[in-house]
Amino acid sequence: MLSMKRSRTISGDIMIGVQMDLISEEKMAAMTAMEKIRLILDGVKDGKIIVLERGLTPTEEAKLIEMTMTEITPEDFPGIEIESYPSSQNQKLIDRIFRKPVVRTRLTVIGPANQLKTLKKDRDLISALVSSQ
């Protein structure tokens, strides 16, 4: 896997570094679960760090883990590092009885396991290290 990318910026400069893709809630909302997972895995396998504004649902996260396992190769792709804040649900009694549970997903960071390392994580903070190899 290529860990460092040589890219041309919007201003035309050539820079070498780790590419980060920050994906909006709106873009993800228009995609199916499999499209989201494909987008993430293709990006991560290309050495990118993917930041999702609204994260994935718990079911999508489980599916992402499953798909990642099918794509692991010993020499090239050891898997992903994924960090998201715990999701929350509508908690009012009236909501629980009459409405479909709404899972509030939150910001999620995903990257190649050999480049993204979590340093510290709690309910509202994710601290991570991005390495160049």
Partner: protein, 211 residues
């Protein structure tokens, strides 16, 4: 989903809780080396006299889900019969070098890594077929791992019962309180699956929670 269907579904769930069934399929989940198989062995041994599977310090020792049917647990006047599924440790990455660091030869490490990925897929698929989960967390580790967040999120989204076993309290650096403050919405029992510490409290909670 329409309003009537949603109301029906939610009332059905409430009635199911009121008239609790006496058999449930329970998965033992958690990250590698949290003590899942040690706990499964402890439960099976205590209530049937058998054992579930081998344990070791090398991660991903359990690479196939194992099910033991009809384990009856009685505690504090409550009785529950469970099908217990011991699942491979969930992870988002598998690096064969990690197994080599535990003394395995390269070929053996790669084979184990391949089997571990298959085991994780199996564990994820089992999530669709369970009535509840015992999530085993290593009480000496940071509780906010992605595996814990994902398993808890899935159980909450499916409205299925979850019980946290804060394992390894026999170790001085363990902190079940850290886990409790991270996930206060779920019942938690601090245990040592290895030493059997506080295991009766876990059985009481299992009978109450999954009965």
């Amino acid at each position: 989903m329409g309003l009537i269907k949603r109301v029906k579904k939610n009332f059905s769930s409430i009635f199911k809780n009121l008239f609790k069934k006496k058999t449930a399929k329970i998965g033992i989940y958690g990250p590698p080396n949290a003590g899942k198989t040690t706990l499964a062995n402890r439960i099976i041994r205590d209530w049937t006299g058998d054992a579930m599977g081998a344990v070791s310090n090398v991660p991903h020792e359990t690479r196939r889900a194992r099910r033991r049917e009809g384990v009856t647990i009685e505690s504090n006047g409550s009785k529950v019969t469970l099908d217990i599924v011991d699942t491979p440790g969930l992870a988002t990455k598998i690096d064969f070098h990690e197994f080599m660091a535990h003394g395995l030869e390269e070929e053996e490490a790669k084979r184990r890594a391949k089997e571990a990925t298959e085991g994780i897929i199996e564990a994820v698929k089992w999530l669709d077929d369970l009535d509840g989960v015992i999530l085993v967390m290593d009480a000496t580790e940071d509780p906010f791992t992605q595996v814990n967040v994902t398993v808890i999120g899935n159980m909450e989204a499916r409205k299925l019962p979850l019980l946290i076993a804060a394992n390894k309290i026999d170790l001085p650096e363990s902190s079940p309180a850290r886990i409790r403050s991270a996930f206060p919405q779920h019942p938690l029992v601090p245990i040592s699956a290895l030493e059997g510490q506080n295991i009766d409290a876990l059985y009481e909670e299992i009978a109450d929670h999954f009965g």
